[in-house]
Amino acid sequence: MSCEVVALYFARSAELAGVRSEIISVPQQLTSLQLWEEIVKRHPRLAAIQDQVVFAVRQEYVLLGDQLLVLQSGDEVAIIPPISGG
């Protein structure tokens, strides 16, 4: 089963993806690393920052790894490069 999530890109991840937001179709259940691989398939230039990003899934931070994500259509999945607010 797949679903349509809203992928959001910021700062350097937006520059590399060339887009700030898009709807993408992904499996409903997958690990966060598998989700990253789906996204890199669409935007290969993002591979350059794999070691420096985390996700925010429904606005909660998730590291790239084995954590299982259960997604629903409409969920926000943001690619979060190192932050620098303040």
Partner: protein, 161 residues
């Protein structure tokens, strides 16, 4: 009951004031938000744009945010502050987005409390934690180039940088 009314501290319920937008920030506005008749102390931190970084001249900064999540993360910080320092009254966190010229403020954090130690400690905790957890990004624009900054407090930043 006029005097009872004036003394009633519960009328000034603790509030969190969170704002992220492109407007110029004002220390007066932010401090007015948190001042309370039952508090004797307001501590503020103002982050301003520096004119240089490692010898390069900085023209201005440009900020962007994942705004809805940034507000949620700032609310979490406020909740943690109130647990750590229960005497804290009001908390304000205003972060400017878009272009911020040199010497102008990018962020103002203000905290009020009856006595000063709580507000001084809390404002420090707020800005430290904001830098570590709130999804906001700063691009430093020099004369010929630019660079995305990374807070040293951000645990997933490239430690090699």
């Amino acid at each position: 009951f006029p005097s009872r009314k004036a003394m009633n501290e519960s009328e000034d319920e603790p509030k969190d004031f969170i704002k992220l937008n492109c407007e110029k920030l004002s220390a007066d506005e932010v401090s007015e938000l948190v001042i309370s008749p039952c508090c004797g102390a307001v501590s503020l931190f103002i982050g301003t744009t520096r004119n240089n970084f490692e010898g390069k001249k900085v023209i201005h900064l440009e900020y962007e945010a994942y705004s809805s999540m940034a507000e949620a993360e700032i609310k979490k910080i406020c909740r943690d502050v109130r647990q750590k320092w229960p005497s804290i009254k009001h908390i304000a966190v205003h972060h400017r987005l878009g272009l911020v010229p040199v010497t102008e403020a990018s962020v103002i954090v203000a905290v009020s409390s009856p006595h000063r130690v709580a507000s001084l400690e809390a404002v420090q905790y707020c800005i430290n934690t904001l830098k570590a957890t709130v999804p906001i990004w700063k691009k430093e624009i020099y004369e010929q180039e630019y660079s995305w900054k990374e807070n040293k407090e951000c645990f997933w930043a490239d430690v090699e940088q």
